[in-house]
Amino acid sequence: MKRSLRTAVAATAAGFLLLTGCGAGSGDDDATDSSADGSTADDGDGDDADPGDDTPAGEPTALTVGFTAEPANLDFTTTDGAAIPEALLVNVYEGLVKLDQDTGEIVPLLAESWEVSEDRTIYDFTLREGVTFSNGEEFTADDVKFSIERVQSDDWSVSLKSGMDVVDEVEVVSPTEVRVVLTEPSNNWLFRMTTRIGAMFTPTGVDDLANEPVGTGPYVVDTWNRGDSIVFAANDDYWGDAPAIDTVTLRYFADPTAANNAMLTGDIDVIGTVQAPEALDQFENEDRFQVIEGTTNGEVTLAFNNESGPMSDVRVRQAVKHAIDREALLETAWAGRGYLIGSHVPPTDPWYEDLTGMYPYDPDRAQDLLADAGAEGVTLRFRIANLPYAVAAAQVVASQLADVGITAEIEPLEFPARWLDEVFTNADYDMSIVAHVEPRDIGIFGDPDYYFRYDNEELRDLLTAADAGTPEEQIASMQDAARLLAEDAVADWLFLLPNLIVAADDVTGLPENRVGESFDLTAISRS
């Protein structure tokens, strides 16, 4: 017993030393080498990616990007969650149109061009030729008809599918021409075609969407290691320019610190969405990293219950808005990263207006409004999502409200399960905080059943007019709608979540602003 034990101990110790020793060696030789280790290890396929990474001047063809939330499955037709389109849209699935990353404009993708009829109800698309799906099927007008009608069928179950309600019929004119007829003019519809509901499917590729997506995009899903990573491989038959990176690994970190550590040690090359902005200093102070800061569609919303309780009084809502010093809040809650917005519109939308001056920080005015409403010393049930930004912001809000005599009792609710149940579904709250991250989602305020419980015919008319009008009319009406929301103090927009990316300094083509639903990998390369 003694001898075998001693042998085992010695062997183990020797093994440990060897392993750490070899790790230390490769780590010291070359700082970028360890990133090669990370990416190759993750796709479990070290041989072909290694040579590229070992010569920084050559052509590195692998990239590992860290994200927070892993998709529950790969089927966004039945499963909600931003993580699925974030990974798949544009990269694996393509639509007829997409959003330009820089300008936010709608640009051609699988459609070469399109024409809109005089009355804005008929869209004639000319399709790109020579496009194939990753299962070998050719992409034709039949697939467009199939995909659009599938959104309208029961096969799609996420409520975003309502974006396709306005489509009356889809006509296949020729294999490369398709006509979409709308029941009424709708600017929203073409925009929605850039989101997940516009993704093009083929009838032979929808059998196992949860695990095997079949699209026309520049990447295909190579392997999915549940709980860890998704590996994309370049689609050899892609119709457009082949992406510069052959293998992209999306790795998922539930813990932001773990993602930071992986970045610091070169285990990953990019953090796609930084969740701990206070930790950015450690990257900004080093030359081997770059930090990209831009806008997103994520409005961190201080939601009010407009229907019942103290917040149903507009004066109380306005008082709360005047009592909040948003600049100080942003500094404390999100390390000063992010943007102040005065309504539910991010700066990348064409109808953005700076409304941040409408409710300046003015505690005296807040107290006057409270006195006016007879609501001095009111107590609010402040039921927030237990997410980092919400918890941090809620503490600042509560302390600022205390200064004007409002007691806000913070109750963090487990997100998503309890928050969805109690705040979102039952509207059992006075105030809440959550980020609304869908693009162009101001329409949620038009729905009286949404948890804001805001019922305003005037707003709905403006939203309808914006949808039906010319591009100029759309902008004007949307601006009016955003202004109306702010005036009526339907909610407070604490700040806009920043698009924070940390990347190795040789990575280029990362999206500065996040305008759509996807994390667009197609423009990324390494110099």
Binding site: M1, K2, L5, A8, V9, T12, G15, F16, L19, T20, C22, G23, A24, G27, D28, S34, D37, G38, T40, A41, D42, G44, G46, E70, A72, N73, D75, T78, T79, D80, G81, S157, V158, S159, K161, A210, N211, N225, R226, G227, D228, R251, Y252, A254, D255, T257, A258, N261, A262, L264, T265, D267, E414, P416, A417, R418, L420, D421, F424, T425
Partner: protein, 306 residues
């Protein structure tokens, strides 16, 4: 029999806990964007609209046939998922146990033999400190020092051993240390006290009187007897190690049972959580069974008695 009863009881307790957890699984699975019709359809699809006893019987019935059911969230069969993750966690627990033993056996014996000398007391004190450190803290410290500061090993992640054995081992070391160091400290104390007990036995004094040195006497006559209480403790510690792995997997971003369990709870993937817990319960019961067998190997007297 006791085995089956324990499992049955565990299944009832787990199911009851899941049933009282607030939150609508269908709503969480489908999210903010789900239509009411889709919610209804999902509830019907997974039988969430039936009475709780019916759901329970259905689940246990499936378990008996080896069918763990389908996940609400991923809509994939739970069995293969749990099996994949179990392999990861098994590596972790085994490696953690190995580290604990490598630390505890020599140090425990040393601390016992020298219990009156300064070196023995220092060892004993150090193990006390080690016990007080939770493994997630050890994990965070190891990552920040060994991985981030020194750059010797990767800070986390997982590689399947068959794909790349070297990377696999490099990524296993830190989590195994995080788990094993703390366990090692705990086990050291048990080894020390077991060896101390044995050292007071008459037969050991006889051995010393025959002229054997303290270590030789202990090795030849004492260790086997000291092993019995230590093995008992190891079995208990294995259960602790499993629980520790849940947290350590989070720190090191390892896709094991623990990560699966935590994600399952967050997503209200009730069936998945129930299955993972049952697998853990089964593992602990099996370990206890193996320990019973080990007793008889270590101590032939128990064989005769049985």
């Amino acid at each position: 029999m006791v085995f089956a009863l324990s499992l049955l009881l565990a299944s009832a307790v787990v199911f009851a806990f899941m049933a009282v957890l607030p939150g609508d699984p269908a709503r969480v699975a489908l999210g903010v964007q789900a239509t009411p019709e889709a919610l209804e359809a999902t509830r019907a699809e997974f039988g969430l609209d039936r009475s709780l006893p019916a759901q329970y019987l259905d689940w246990v019935g499936g378990l008996l046939q080896g069918d763990l059911g389908r996940s609400y969230v991923t809509r994939a069969d739970i069995g293969p998922q749990v099996f994949d993750r179990l392999q990861v966690t098994a590596w972790l627990v085994m490696a953690g146990m190995l580290v604990a033993l490598v630390i505890a056996l020599p140090l425990g014996v040393l601390a016992a033999v020298r219990h009156r000398r300064l070196s023995g007391m220092m060892l004993s004190g150090a193990s006390q400190v080690g016990m007080a450190v939770p493994s997630f803290l050890a994990g965070i410290l190891l990552v920040s020092v060994v991985a981030v500061q020194l750059g010797w090993l990767p800070p986390g992640g997982w590689v399947v051993p068959a794909d790349d054995p070297v990377q696999f081992l490099r990524r296993l070391i830190l989590p195994a240390l995080a788990l094993g160091l703390v366990q090692g400290a705990v086990v050291t104390r048990y080894v020390r006290s077991a060896v101390l007990d044995v050292m007071r036995e008459d037969y050991l004094r006889t051995a010393r009187a025959k002229g054997l040195g303290p270590y030789r006497a202990l090795v030849k006559h004492g260790l086997r007897n000291a092993a019995i209480p230590v093995v008992t403790v190891l079995a208990l510690q294995l259960a602790t190690l499993l629980i520790g792995a849940v947290v350590v997997e989070r720190v090191f971003v390892i896709p094991g049972l623990g990560s699966l369990l935590l994600d399952g709870v967050a997503n209200r993937d009730l069936l998945l959580v129930q299955s993972v817990v049952m697998v853990l319960v089964l593992a602990v019961l099996l370990v206890n069974y193996v320990v019973d067998v080990l007793y008889t190997v270590l101590d032939p007297r128990l064989r005769r008695a049985g």
